[in-house]
C-alpha cells in the first residue's frame, strides 16, 4: 500500500486533531481545566499572592485537589517540562477507599493528570505496602485510577535500592531507600490524614516510610528523628494531604466505617512541617505533641505556623 502526499498530510492532521481533542477532553473533567485553564485560574483564584498553604473543602474531590495546588501557584511551579515525577500515595494495605486507610484514588488521579499537564514525561506511582502488595494495589483503587490517568504504576522490588547518605549524624545513615524515589526530578507526597497508634497521626512524614527498604519494624525505634531525617533526605517538592475521609480510630489499618469521618478537605503545601501541623489541628491534635513534627520543626525543615494571610482557605 502506498500513500500519496495528500493522503499522508490528511492522516497526520487527523491524528493531530485527535490527540489535541483527547488532551482537551482529559482536561475538561474538571471545572478548572488544562494547562491554559490552570494558568488562568492561578491568577483568578489565588490572586497575585503567593500562598504557602491551601485548605480547600468540597465534595468534588478531584476539583478541590486541583484548586489546592493552583492556589500555591499551579503544578507548573513544582513540575518542570520533561521531569520524571514520583507521586507517592499511601497504599498501606488492602483496604477499600471508603475505609480511609489509603489515599483517595480521585486525589491521586487528579495529581497525575496535573503533572502531565505541567509537562512531566513520566509519572511513577508506587508504595511498599505492609500487607500483600498485589492485593493492596488492586483493592485500594489507586493502581487503577493512576493508570487511567497515564501513570506508571509498579510494585517495589527488594533490591533496587540505594543507601542513604547524610551530611550530619543520622540514625538512617546507610539505610536502603528506593532508587526511583531519589532519582526523580520531582517527588510529590500524597498522604492521607489518619489515626496512628504511635505517631498519633499518620501524616506526610510518616507516609515517606513507603520508600524505605530494610527492616522497617526498626524504624519505629526513635521514629521521630528518623522520619524527620527521611523527609530532609527525600525533600518532597509538594505535599498534597488527603483529608476527604479521615480514619479517627484504630489506625493505620482501620476497617470499620464507624471509625471514618468525612472531612471533604484537601490541603497542599511545599512545607512538610506546616502541612502536618495544620492537618493535626484539623483533627484537634496539638502539632508539637507529635514527635516527628516537633523534631522536623526544630531541625528547620519548616514552620509550625504561618500568618493567616498566607493560608488560602476556600469552601467549594
Amino acid at each position: 500500500m502506498r500513500f500519496t502526499r495528500r493522503e499522508f498530510i490528511k492522516a497526520v492532521s487527523v491524528m493531530l486533531v485527535g490527540l489535541v481533542a483527547k488532551k482537551l477532553s482529559a482536561a475538561e473533567r474538571s471545572p478548572v481545566s488544562g494547562a491554559v485553564g490552570s494558568l488562568l485560574k492561578k491568577g483568578a483564584a489565588a490572586g497575585e499572592k503567593k500562598y504557602e498553604l491551601s485548605i480547600i473543602k468540597g465534595t468534588d474531590h478531584a476539583a478541590i485537589t486541583r484548586q489546592a495546588v493552583s492556589a500555591l501557584g499551579g503544578m507548573e511551579k513544582f513540575v518542570k517540562k520533561g521531569d520524571t515525577v514520583v507521586v507517592k500515595p499511601n497504599m498501606c494495605g488492602p483496604h477499600m477507599p471508603e475505609m480511609a486507610a489509603t489515599t483517595n484514588p480521585e486525589v491521586v488521579k487528579e495529581i497525575v493528570y496535573m503533572c502531565y499537564e505541567a509537562g512531566a514525561v513520566k509519572v511513577k506511582v508506587f508504595d511498599k505496602p505492609f500487607r500483600h502488595a498485589g492485593m493492596t494495589y488492586k483493592i485500594c483503587g489507586i493502581a487503577r485510577a493512576a493508570k487511567e490517568a497515564g501513570a506508571d504504576v509498579f510494585f517495589v522490588d527488594d533490591w533496587n535500592y540505594v543507601n542513604a547518605k547524610f551530611e550530619y549524624d543520622s540514625p538512617l545513615e546507610g539505610w536502603p531507600i528506593y532508587k526511583d524515589a531519589i532519582e526523580a526530578d520531582c517527588f510529590i507526597n500524597v498522604p492521607i490524614l489518619k489515626h496512628h497508634s504511635y505517631t498519633g497521626l499518620t501524616l506526610s512524614m510518616k507516609n515517606l516510610m513507603g520508600v524505605m527498604g530494610g527492616n522497617r519494624g526498626n524504624v519505629h525505634w526513635d521514629i521521630s528523628t528518623k522520619l524527620a531525617h527521611l523527609t530532609d533526605y527525600i525533600k518532597p517538592k509538594l505535599i498534597v494531604m488527603d483529608a476527604t475521609r479521615v480514619l479517627m480510630r484504630n489506625g493505620p489499618g482501620g476497617g470499620n466505617l464507624e471509625d471514618v469521618e468525612i472531612f471533604n478537605t484537601v490541603m497542599a503545601s511545599a512545607d512538610p512541617v506546616l502541612i502536618d501541623s495544620e492537618a493535626a489541628r484539623l483533627v484537634g491534635v496539638t502539632p508539637k505533641k507529635i514527635g516527628c513534627i516537633r523534631v522536623a520543626g526544630e531541625m528547620g525543615l519548616g514552620k509550625f505556623n504561618v500568618s493567616p494571610d498566607l493560608v488560602y482557605r476556600k469552601q467549594v
Partner: protein, 511 residues
C-alpha cells in the same frame, strides 16, 4: 512420513501441562481440576478420611471415559507422564549407545500390588497415596520446586542485566511488567522442598530402566485405569497390508503389544506410536461395534473385587463427616488454651482427619500470597510429613484472603467464605514480656498493634509510666485475636520475636 497422531498427542500433553501449571498457581476453584479428575485420590481420601468428597463425582466421568476409550489419560493428559516422556526424549538424544528401552512385561503386575496396598492402608485410615499419586507428585513439584526456581532465575537474570551490565530502562520496565503479573513478588521459597524434589526425581529416574517404566510397572493410578481399560471399546485393528515387521511390537513404550495383532488393552495408553510408525500404514484404532464380554476374569482379581466391595461397604456404613462447621461464627471460637505445635491453615481443626485428607499436592502453599504456608518435615509426626503449616516469620495469613480453602482438592482445608475466614482462628498471639522492647522499658515500639489487621485491633496498647517516660505496651485481646501471625511477622525483635502465635488446642487430638 507424517506423524500427525503422535504430534497431536505431544501437543495435547504440553497444553495440559501448561494448563495444569497455570491453574494450580491461581486462587481459583479450577486449581482443583486435575486432582478432581483423579479417581484414585477421591477413592483413597474417601476411604481414609471416612468422608464423601464431592470430586468423586467428577472423577467418575474419567472412570467412565477410561472404561470406554482406555488409558487415554496416561498418554494424553497426565502431567507426570509428560515429564517422564520428556525425560526419556532427552535421555535418548543425549546417550550415544542404544539403551534398552523396554522393560520386561511381567513386571507390570507390581502396580496392582501397590494399588492394593494403598487401598488397604486407606481402609485402615492411613493415607500414603500422597507419596506416589502422579497428580500429587507432579503438582507438588511444579508448585514448590519448578515455579519458585523459575521465579528466582528470572529475578536474578534481570538483576544481573540491570545492575551489572547496566541496561536499566528497557529491562527495568520489562521486569516491572513481569512483577505486576506475578502480583508483587517473584521470590517464593519452601522449606523441605527437597522432599518433593526427591520423590519427583525418583519417579523420573525410573525412566533410566526403560520407556515409561513408572507408568507400566509402578503407578497406582495407572493400575486403576488399567483395570478399567481392560474392558474398553477402543480396538486396534490391522488391515491386510500388515507384513508382520514387528516394529510396533518392539517400540511400544508400554509393552502393550504381545504380537502385532494381540494387544493388552490394559497397558495401552493410546500414545499412537504404533499408528504413525507403522511401515505399511496398516494400523488404526476403531471403536468396537458392540459390547463384548471379557472372555475370562482372573479369579484372583474377582476375589480382590469381592474383598474390596465388602470392606468398602463396612467402611461406608460407619460413614461420618468429621469436619462440621457451625453457623457463621467462624471456626475455633470455642477453643481455649494454647500449646506449642503447628499452626494449620484456616479452618483446619481436626488434626488426624486433616492428615488423612491432605494429599500434599502443594496447591495451598503455592497459592498462599505471603508464602507463609510451608511444608513441615516431621513436626506433625510420621503421618503428617509435608503437610502445610503457617510460618508467620516467613509470611502471615493475609486477612483478605481465603484462597487455600478454595484450591484444596480434597477439602482437607475447608472452603470458607472471606467473611467467615476473617473470624476463623488459627492460633493466638502471646507477648513475651522479657523480650518485648516496651515491656523491657528499652524503647517505644507499637509495630504489632499497627500491623494487626483485625478491625477493632486484637492488640491493645496500655500506657505505663516508667521513670518519667510513657511506654505503650502491647497486650493481646484473647477474644479478638485470630492468630494470623501478622504481629509475629512484623515484630522487630531479633533473634527471637517478642510476639508469637501459638496454635489452638485441638479437641480431638488423639490419633
Amino acid at each position: 512420513m507424517k506423524k500427525k497422531w503422535v504430534r497431536s498427542r505431544v501437543l495435547s500433553q504440553l497444553l495440559f501441562l501448561l494448563l495444569f501449571s497455570y491453574l494450580i498457581s491461581h486462587p481459583l476453584r479450577a486449581a482443583r481440576l486435575f486432582f478432581a479428575v483423579d479417581p484414585l485420590i477421591a477413592l483413597t481420601v474417601s476411604l481414609a478420611g471416612r468422608v464423601f468428597i464431592k470430586t468423586i463425582i467428577i472423577s467418575l466421568v474419567f472412570v467412565v471415559l477410561t472404561a470406554l476409550a482406555g488409558r487415554f489419560f496416561c498418554g494424553w493428559i497426565c502431567p507426570m507422564g509428560t515429564f517422564i516422556d520428556a525425560f526419556g526424549y532427552i535421555r535418548r538424544k543425549v546417550s550415544r549407545k542404544r539403551v534398552k528401552d523396554i522393560s520386561p512385561r511381567r513386571l507390570s503386575c507390581i502396580k496392582y500390588v501397590i494399588f492394593i496396598i494403598v487401598i488397604i492402608l486407606a481402609v485402615f485410615g492411613i493415607q500414603l497415596l500422597w507419596m506416589i499419586d502422579p497428580m500429587s507428585v507432579s503438582g507438588r513439584f511444579i508448585s514448590t520446586n519448578l515455579l519458585p526456581a523459575a521465579g528466582k532465575a528470572v529475578e536474578n537474570s534481570f538483576r544481573f542485566v540491570i545492575q551489572r551490565l547496566g541496561f536499566p530502562d528497557i529491562f527495568m520496565n520489562m521486569y516491572r511488567w513481569l512483577l505486576g503479573i506475578a502480583g508483587g513478588t517473584l521470590q517464593r521459597s519452601f522449606n523441605n522442598g527437597g522432599v518433593s524434589l526427591a520423590i519427583f526425581s525418583s519417579v523420573i529416574l525410573t525412566g533410566i530402566l526403560g520407556k515409561r517404566f513408572w507408568c507400566r510397572n509402578l503407578c497406582p493410578l495407572g493400575a486403576l485405569y488399567a483395570l478399567l481399560a481392560r474392558f474398553s471399546f477402543l480396538e486396534r485393528k490391522l488391515d491386510d497390508s500388515c507384513n508382520a515387521c514387528q516394529v510396533c511390537v518392539l517400540d511400544c513404550r508400554m509393552g502393550a503389544l504381545e504380537k502385532e495383532n494381540v494387544i493388552r488393552k490394559e497397558e495401552c495408553i493410546l500414545c499412537m506410536d504404533c499408528i504413525d510408525n507403522c511401515t505399511t500404514s496398516s494400523a488404526r484404532f476403531l471403536f468396537k461395534k458392540k459390547l463384548l464380554a471379557p472372555k475370562s476374569i482372573n479369579s484372583s482379581r474377582r476375589d480382590f473385587l469381592k474383598y474390596a466391595g465388602i470392606t468398602s461397604i463396612a467402611v461406608f456404613t460407619g460413614w461420618r463427616n468429621r469436619q462440621r462447621w457451625g453457623g457463621g461464627r467462624g471456626i475455633g471460637r470455642g477453643m481455649e488454651g494454647v500449646e506449642p505445635g503447628i499452626i494449620r491453615p484456616p479452618g483446619v481443626i481436626d488434626e488426624p482427619a486433616f492428615q488423612k485428607r491432605c494429599i500434599r499436592c502443594g496447591n495451598c502453599m503455592n497459592v498462599c500470597p505471603t508464602n507463609g504456608l510451608q511444608p513441615v518435615l516431621l513436626k506433625a509426626g510420621p503421618a503428617g510429613v509435608w503437610t502445610p503449616e503457617l510460618v508467620p516469620e516467613i509470611g502471615a495469613c493475609e486477612y483478605n484472603c481465603a484462597a487455600c480453602g478454595v484450591v484444596c482438592p480434597t477439602g482437607a482445608i475447608p472452603e470458607l467464605g472471606l467473611e467467615i475466614k476473617r473470624l476463623t482462628r488459627l492460633g493466638r498471639a502471646r507477648v513475651n514480656r522479657s523480650i518485648c522492647l516496651p515491656w523491657k522499658g528499652e524503647t517505644s515500639c507499637i509495630v504489632c498493634e499497627e500491623q494487626c489487621p483485625v478491625e477493632e485491633k486484637a492488640i491493645k496498647l496500655i500506657e505505663e509510666d516508667v521513670n518519667g517516660t510513657v511506654f505503650q505496651k502491647p497486650v493481646v485481646d484473647k477474644g479478638l485475636c485470630i492468630g494470623c501471625g501478622k504481629c509475629q511477622n512484623a515484630c522487630p525483635a531479633r533473634p527471637e520475636r517478642a510476639i508469637k502465635v501459638y496454635p489452638l488446642q485441638h479437641r480431638n487430638r488423639s490419633a
